[in-house]
Amino acid sequence: MVVACLTLSGAVGVFGFSFGVGSVVAGASVWQTCALSLFVFTGASQFSAMSVIGAGGSLGSALGGALLLAARNGVYGLTMSRRLDGSLGRRLLAAQLTIDETTAMAVAQPSRREQQIAFWLTGLALYAFWNLGTLVGALTGRAIDPQTFGLDAAFPAGFVAMVWPLLSDRRARLAAAIGAAVFLATVSFLPVGVPILLSVVGVLVGVQRPVPPPVVVEVSPP
């Protein structure tokens, strides 16, 4: 568990770095960039908001896309509420750490006690690395010319790394294809940022019930 947690933290530190770079390139100050990581603490939403702002999108469309991405943390909250206990204060703190990685690490553990340890260990390590990565990234983005070093590609490359593991699922692949297609079809005539909001229609793939796994009929000799 500790090894998995450290590996994950390293990766999250790199993500944080690329967020920090991209965020200042998109027009945020170093302080604003760090505040986003400290208080929002949900990667995809932060990336999305700053990507839309960087392209010249409105505040509303930047917020809309980012909040759509934040909504799934509500689902993780439901999952974790059955596994975490403790005082109200402790649970309010746990809420801030309820994201993809902490939920995934927790549910992978066999017992309730280990689930709680995994959640807190991963959550606190990730929080530290995400914010450290952001700070270093923001300072780097400030110090060097982003175009010369291809740092404007830090966001899309980060997005690629983010989405890739999800695409092993057939429905996620379909949702991704629809999202990308909607963007391409609407980018030229809708205000910047709005196509990102519309891409969410891809999730309607989820309305259809999942196909149950085929039943294996064992044929035993008479």
Partner: protein
């Protein structure tokens, strides 16, 4: 950039987390809603990749970024570590731009 974005996003993101963890608590969500919510990253992040690779404002463009991201996709497909995916994307973009 205005601080409004930072503040509203921080409050909104925390509200979702607290709603799931504390307010709805142990209750269950209709499964169709849960299935749709977990697909949000796939749909929206894919659109973001296309946006940051092939567009500038409202215009679709093909420039150095496309080459960088193509290599980042190959790296992700070959299961390269995260840092390789990001550094490769940025480096290839920078090199192509110099040519």
């Amino acid at each position: 950039m205005s601080w409004t974005l930072v503040i509203v996003l921080a409050v909104g993101a925390y509200a979702f987390k607290v709603t799931g963890l504390l307010i709805l608590g142990g209750r269950t969500m209709p499964s169709v809603m849960e299935r749709c919510l977990v697909l949000i990253p796939a749909a929206v992040v894919s659109a973001l990749i296309v946006k940051d690779t092939f567009s500038t404002g409202q215009e679709l463009v093909l420039d150095a970024r496309a080459a960088g991201i193509a290599l980042a996709v190959v790296a992700a497909w070959r299961k390269a570590p995260l840092i390789v995916v990001i550094v490769l994307g940025a480096t290839v973009t920078a090199v192509i731009r110099q040519i």
